[in-house]
Symmetry: C2
Subunit: 465 residues, 2 copies
């Protein structure tokens, strides 16, 4: 691929000097060091016109572009692996252009950090519900490009469900101006949903109109000990039968994660000790959610769906409960996973997956599994760790076999091997292996039609042409 | 375009005789007689393989295909205007393949009538919320192809938001097998959202996995007299502040519609008489929605947002209230509209639109306006009628000028001239006039890439090539 240097003089002539920045290592390499760019040119544009100028010049010269948000992606979508791209970082397009509580809409530039969207919405007495571990650094452009998920998908949907409109620069440099907050607009194909989840391969998102929700009048959380993952699902359905949409989050937590927490983050209080399986339930509704949780607990015990439980008596306790769930990824990092899997299966097969999956590793070796996640979405983080006394380095050569064994099972059960983190560069082969052939052909046709020179984030999602 | 007769012998040889049906006039002409096909071949396939056979043969021969659902479309998308297509009616693919209350998913073939989906969901104690006037005859394939809206979009979204997966035949005859019920799946571009709303121009939907919701534990409805459309919006926000997502529907009703009802459908009871503006509010929530409506009414009166109101005391009364709203289209037909407009504007401009729109007709003549609709979505049906003593025929020559004047205003206010009924063949020129140029170019590229011969519903959404 033509290196960025081929277009650098033209871009330096066309753009103000301030947009050119040092290409620090974080733009070249992702945290785990799996994908490494050979170099390139970093540009942090200030507005959509500058983005258009960059894309137009690169399209003309055939120079690849890699869009860069918060750099928190877990699948290498933000790294121009093996080539020298123009890296377009959205860090300076970080304005919240408007917050409109009547419209229930907020217009954010692609570089706005998720946390800042939360805060701006709250100031207008509204909720932007998307919540992920990386919310302190992930930026809206990347969140939409990867269709991020998180703990509130159960109630509010994925990133795409929270996006009303987009402004984006298409691969020919033209500007799609679609920041309308309209709730009903059937005027033509939905390009918004095509760009969301395309991971920068069909265009570069520069701003978005985000959907705000009412803030639930009252919130409450509880942790219940459940006898099994199947019981957790029954409990979720019981909860929904009793309070309808009021269930905001419903997270499954396996014992292994709690053990990791006890060992590596002992400051995190474990209100129920270390049960084999527990769930964190969060309700937000008009009325008395704490009473609803008490009623739910009684009904669950009656049905054998829970054996113990704690209901947060204050917002502080609610925060403590969430700290358990949200600290698990940090504990995982402290232990060091051999292989991490972001998978989803149909809800009806979730318990069977949890039951069957450990056995697929038997031919490879002995491991510890930390299984936790968004059980209401059928989305599990099923992470494989060495047994005590061994390290992840000991299992470097097992990683591909582990991934293949787990993904084969997921696929056999009708699931997805790229649930909420995207395909990036990490799962291109998986997509080729497991994807629907008609879908892949159509994807390649669309990519070739919109980006005939293949300059937009080449190698992400689809193999570079 | 090559007529259907060119491919008929091959299709008769490849398919069972039973799938060929008489091409009755309803397949050739839509209710208002604006679009008329010159003839063609009607096929009602029994399964997706037969659909694939049809599409493959037509692609080879360059024969146009028009998909046909319930025939209730209001923009001519279902009529092969001026040519002789193969009409593929989905009427025999009308099975509900599965209903799964754990998955909260229902798999329906494209020919299933909406009402039947409602009933199947209710039998499983679940809700499929999409509700439109034509639900007794509209079929799921058409509902998704047009991304239908209706009265519950406020709470549950448009058709696209209720679709988890699709099975479809693409323009080359390949079968997209994507009926997964997964809530989180980021494995590649979202072709589902591209096909939904494409009105059959990018492929033919043969089945869908639909998203079911919990049935709200309790429901209640009320009608309030409001001083203005602006007050109606304030009332909606007040309602949402008080009960969160519990507001299922919020419909604005103008006096003209009530007058039409009194004149043409006197059996419909008008609980509040004929106020200038009124709203129908429907709540569904855990707890006591009737009490919530009483509290809302008191708070609304206090704030000057309502002057009178009735709260349904029984499910029968609730049904009566809804009969008012749902009978307005029938009353409109009895009067005979000169021009009907399915438009949306940002919520913040809705009141201004209602205020300013009548004046744009002044240069054309004197008319009566019936304005009603889904105010929470910014979606109005703004229909123009002759004054008493004149008929719609008297205004035949005014129709284009009226449409242009109304649509210009909508566009100026940042709205959409195709809110929930689609583009079809009726609004192709509007899309060209008002659409974002980058979007139109991208749409044409995608159409050419996926359907290079232009056989899928040519002339709908985009001008036939």
């Amino acid at each position: 691929m033509t290196p960025a240097s081929a277009v650098e003089p033209a871009l330096r002539a066309a753009l103000p000097a301030a947009v050119f920045r040092d290409l620090e290592s974080r733009y070249l390499e992702e945290p785990r060091g799996r994908f490494i760019a050979r170099g390139g040119l970093l540009i942090a544009p200030e507005n959509v016109e500058q983005v258009s100028t960059i894309v137009r010049a690169c399209a003309e010269a055939g120079v690849p572009i890699v869009p860069y948000g918060g750099g928190t992606g877990l699948v290498g979508g933000q790294i121009g692996d093996g080539f020298e791209p123009v890296v377009v970082s959205m860090e300076r397009m970080a304005a919240i252009r408007s917050v409109d509580p009547v419209e229930n809409a907020l217009v954010a530039e692609a570089g706005v950090i998720l946390q800042n969207v939360h805060e701006a919405a709250a100031e207008a007495d509204r909720l932007f519900p998307l919540t992920i571990a990386a919310q302190g650094s992930a930026r809206i452009g990347g969140i939409l490009a990867t269709n991020a998920g998180g703990v509130n998908v159960l109630r509010y949907g994925n990133a795409r469900d929270l996006c009303l409109g987009l402004e984006a620069v298409l691969p020919d440099g033209s500007v799609l101006r679609g920041l309308s907050p309209l709730r009903k607009d059937n005027a033509g194909y939905d390009l918004r949903h095509l760009l969301v989840g395309a991971e920068g391969t069909l265009g570069l998102i520069t701003a978005a109109t985000l959907k705000l929700h009412p803030r639930p009048p009252a919130r409450a959380a509880a942790m219940f000990v459940v006898p099994s993952p199947a019981a957790a699902l029954d409990l979720l359905n019981l909860a929904r039968d009793r309070v309808g949409e009021g269930v905001s989050a419903f997270e499954l937590i396996g014992r292994q994660g709690l053990e990791f927490l006890a060992e590596h983050l002992p400051q995190v209080r474990l209100p129920l000790g270390q049960p084999e399986w527990s769930v964190l339930v969060d309700l937000g509704l008009a009325g008395d959610p704490q009473a609803a949780l008490e009623g739910l607990f009684e009904a669950a015990v009656e049905r054998g769906l829970a054996s113990d439980g704690v209901i947060a008596q204050s917002e502080g306790q609610r925060t403590d409960f969430w700290a358990v769930r949200e600290s698990i990824p940090a504990a995982n990092r402290a232990v060091g996973a051999v292989s991490s899997h972001d998978i989803s299966v149909p809800l009806g097969k979730l318990a069977a997956f949890i039951d069957r999956a450990p056995a697929v590793l038997d031919p490879i070796g002995r491991f510890r599994i930390n299984c936790f996640g968004h059980v209401g979405d059928g989305n599990l983080h099923w992470n494989v760790f060495p047994v005590p006394g061994r390290t992840r380095e000991d299992h470097q050569d097992d990683r591909d076999a582990i991934k293949r064994a787990v993904h084969d099972l997921v696929h056999d059960m009708g699931g997805s091997v790229a649930a909420e983190h995207g395909v990036g560069r990490l799962k291109v082969e998986d997509l080729e292996r497991y994807g629907d052939p008609a879908k892949l052909t159509a994807m390649r046709s669309i990519k070739a039609a919109l980006d005939p020179k293949g300059i937009m984030n080449p190698g992400a999602v689809l193999r570079a042409g």
